[in-house]
């Protein structure tokens, strides 16, 4: 991950506009710079290439590619961002798949906060 250069830039990927709005509110309230939002997997990948965010908040359930696949492709990019998966489900529901994917961690949507996100990004870097 890039060295500390002021507030971390974040990309929010979720097909629910309501959640994206709330996540933006939360992250911005806790010092993140939300540089973009994406509602689907392919859109997310092109947004990563274009915006080069520090962190990607990535929903597992997307209408086109699923979050794991997006994470795999993003990880293949040069200087990949830190990816944190989110879902309204619990991590246990995905079994081994979260552990097998190159992500910094998983946050259940109800537990989302800038603090949790920051901890995972720090820990995963």
């Amino acid at each position: 991950m890039a060295t500390w250069r002021g507030p971390l830039s974040a990309l929010i990927v979720d097909d629910h506009g309501g959640f994206r709005a709330w996540a933006r509110t939360f992250l911005e309230a806790e010092g993140y710079r939300v540089v973009g939002e994406a509602a689907g997997g392919t859109e997310a990948i092109s947004a990563v290439r274009r915006l080069r965010p520090d962190v990607v908040l990535l929903d597992v359930h997307l209408p086109d590619l699923d979050g794991f696949e997006v994470a795999r492709r993003v990880a293949a990019e040069p200087a990949p961002p830190a990816v944190v998966l989110v879902s309204s489900r619990e991590v246990e529901e995905f079994g081994w798949r979260v552990g097998a994917t190159s992500v910094c961690g998983f946050i259940s949507k109800v537990d989302l906060s800038g603090e949790r996100l920051g901890a995972l990004v720090e820990g995963g870097s």
Binding site: H16, G18, F19, W22, T25, F26, H61, S88, R89, K109, V110, L112, S113
Partner: protein, 707 residues
């Protein structure tokens, strides 16, 4: 050029046909000669008055008569084989041997009549007596050396066996000449000297021809054994029987030769073995031909054979009875016509039960392990009565058909939605190349010789496909048998198809159930759960802001949260209704349909005849049916109005949902409507979709609702 070729082809066909006709004429003439000679011999046998010390061939008149009829089998086989396979020497050998044997027997009876019974009454009796000396030789050599050498294809095993054939021919000549020229009295006719007796040849040991014959038989037996060892499959089974018979003949001849050197035991054994060996060869050829389909003669001859065996048996019995009665009465030669008629009548009546027994025996012999057509059908029906289990019935059917007509393979195909599926095969060899699925009603597919359709009340249910041995076709009898079996099979196939349909429907119901559960889970996840997530986040945000923000902001936030909770509740209700429409059980079907109509995006006219409460499963199905139909109206029909009609006719509930939209709806597999079709079918009802393009859509269902 082409024209000339065509003309040449036509000419060669004509020539072939002419040749074929000529061959057939020769074959039937040979058989006719043999039958004529046999008849004449029989007449002589019966009319010749018994004489003291009468010369017989076998020791008694009835046995002579029996042998005579048995030898007829040679000519009959010969003619039949020639008729089918005129290029095959086996037929000609049988035919020739048969005529030779009959000549021998006739010459003997003629000589007995002309020289012993009525001396001087018949012309050429001496010539006949001379013929008895040697005319049997060609028959013996043909039947016991040439036949095993070329059986069954009419060719020598290989050119290397040619010397054996030449040796047999030499044996024939030496044997015939030495026996024909023995000087002095003719054997069996003391006082009649051989007219061509040649002392010079007579001085030769008359046993030399016999020894050569025995050696030729042994060589031929060896050839047949080698052929047997090299053959495989059916060919082997065909050869096996003749190999036994010829080996038996070789052994017998050795025993007889030893016996003629004065060994008493061998002489007695020879007397028993020899007739058996003579009968064995045609019998073995018979088995090869009829049990193992050699020359395709089996069914052709079935009836002829039954008849022939009958005639032979009755005649032999008749001759025996007549001879016995004649001897007992002591009325030599004075047998009256009346007595003959009475005896015949008695024999005919007495033999009636034997007749049926013989008929069945002949059929069994002819069909071998395949039972008679009647038995096949009866057995099939019996098995059907025992089991209607599809897993059992179809393979059994394939096996019965296959064994019944002697097919090499049988496939049973079932008409299923979207084509034919093979449901049984015989023999059950999974590696057998399976012919490609034939089109229903088309000509036989590749590798199949006969396709019989199985129909039930005109509807094509499936086909029975037969593969026959190379070059064989079904005889009319077999064809009829297959068609009769196919008629019986209609019941089995319709049963199997019902089971298949039931299985498929169950499968679809389960799939639909799973699909439904997944949809509900997705609805919960995407809807209520998301809302609750945002609610939780909103509440947390409100909590963090509670101390800092002005009360108005907090108030606004809480108002928003309350509205969100109300919407979440509404969505939960909608979901619950999808899982089970409580309104049906609580408010009744009419109320439930009204609520559906109210929520529909187009105006819905309800035409509901009041009906009593029905089984919950029926009411819920009706509710889902109407809900699905109205959803489709909203989604696809581009309709302005819709009608929902419900009434009860006797024991049936009739529901119709109609709209005035675009029409052209097709129930796709896995669609809501397809699921409903199964659901309605599960209740014993049926669902129809009528949706002409541009003519609106009509979904009609009838569900039995009797108490």
């Amino acid at each position: 050029m082409e024209v000339r070729t065509a003309v040449g082809g036509a000419r060669s066909i004509v020539a072939r046909r002419t040749r074929r006709r000529a061959t057939l004429a020769v074959a039937w003439a040979g058989l006719g000669t043999a039958v004529l000679l046999a008849t004449a011999s029989l007449v002589l046998l019966v009319v010749t008055p018994p004489v003291a010390a009468e010369p017989t061939l076998t020791g008694s008149r009835p046995v002579d008569g029996g042998i005579l009829l048995a030898f007829l089998a040679y000519s009959a086989f010969g003619a039949l084989i020639v008729a089918r396979r005129r290029d095959n020497r086996v037929g000609w050998i049988f035919l020739g041997a048969g005529v030779g044997f009959q000549l021998w027997l006739f010459a003997h009876r003629y000589a007995v009549a002309g020289l012993v019974a009525w001396p001087g009454a018949l012309p050429g009796a001496t010539l006949a007596a001379w013929l008895t000396l040697w005319i049997v030789v060609p028959g013996f050599v043909l039947a016991f050396t040439f036949l095993p050498q070329v059986f069954p294809d009419g060719m020598l095993l290989s050119p290397r066996w040619r010397p054996a054939a030449w040796f047999a021919a030499a044996a024939l000549i030496v044997w015939a000449v030495t026996w024909a020229t023995v000087p002095g009295p003719i054997a069996g006719f003391p006082g009649v000297d051989n007219p061509v007796g040649i002392t010079a040849i007579g001085r030769l040991d008359s046993g030399i021809g016999w020894v050569m014959f025995v050696l030729a038989v042994l060589a031929s037996a060896a050839s047949l054994v080698v052929r047997y060892v090299r053959a495989s499959g059916v060919a082997r089974r065909q050869i096996r029987w003749l190999a036994y018979a010829v080996a038996w003949m070789g052994l017998t001849l050795v025993v007889v030769s030893v016996g003629s050197e004065g060994v008493r035991a061998a002489e007695v054994a020879g007397e028993v073995l020899f007739p058996l060996a003579i009968a064995g060869v045609p019998l073995a050829a018979f088995v090869a031909i009829f049990r193992h389909d050699l020359y395709d003669l089996d069914v052709v001859v079935s009836k002829t054979l039954t008849f022939g065996v009958l005639v032979a048996l009755i005649t032999v019995a008749y001759v025996a009875v007549v001879a016995t009665v004649g001897a007992v009465a002591g009325a030599a030669g004075e047998l009256s016509l009346t007595l003959a008629v009475v005896v015949t009548a008695v024999v005919a009546v007495a033999f009636h039960p034997v007749r049926t027994r013989v008929a069945r025996l002949a059929d069994r012999l002819v069909y071998g392990s395949r039972a008679t057509p009647y038995e096949v059908l009866a057995g099939f029906s019996r098995r059907l009565g025992g089991t209607l289990d599809a897993e059992d019935a179809l393979p059994q059917m394939a096996r019965i058909v296959g064994e019944g007509v002697g097919a090499t393979a049988v496939d049973v195909w079932l008409v299923v939605s979207g084509g034919l599926r093979r449901v049984a095969l015989w023999p059950t060899d999974p590696h057998r190349s399976s012919p490609t699925s034939p089109e229903a009603g088309s000509s036989p597919g590749p590798g199949t010789d006969r396709v019989v359709e199985v129909r039930d009340r005109g509807e094509l249910l499936g086909t029975i496909n037969l593969t026959l041995p190379e070059g064989r076709t079904l005889t009319p009898t077999e064809d009829r048998l297959v068609r009769d079996l196919a008629a019986h099979a209609g019941l089995v196939l319709s049963n199997v198809r019902l089971l298949e349909q039931l299985k498929a429907s169950r499968q679809r119901l389960i799939t639909a159930q799973d699909e439904e559960r997944r949809r509900i889970e997705r609805d919960i996840h995407d809807g209520v759960q998301q809302r609750l997530v945002t609610l939780a986040l909103a509440l947390r945000m409100a909590a963090t802001r509670a101390g800092r923000a002005p009360p108005t902001e907090l108030e606004a936030r809480l108002e928003g949260i309350a509205a969100e909770v109300a919407e979440t509740l509404a969505e939960l209700r909608r979901l619950a209704r999808g899982i089970h429409p409580a309104i049906v059980t609580e408010g009744g079907l009419a109320a439930a349909l009204e609520s559906l109509a109210q929520r529909a995006p187009v105006p819905v006219e309800l035409q509901l005849t009041p009906v009593d409460r029905l089984r919950t499963s029926v009411e819920v199905s009706v509710y889902y049916l109407v809900a699905e139909a109205l959803t489709n109206v909203a989604k696809h029909a581009r309709a302005s109005t819709a009608t929902v009609a419900l009434d009860r006719h006797a024991d049936h509930l009739r529901i119709e949902v109609a709209d005035d939209g675009a029409g052209g709806a097709r129930p796709s597999p896995g669609s809501g409507l397809a699921g409903l079709t199964d659901r309605v079918a599960a209740l014993g009802g049926r669902l129809e979709l009528d949706s002409p393009a541009g003519g609106g859509t009509r979904v009609r269902a009838e569900i039995p609702c009797g108490s």
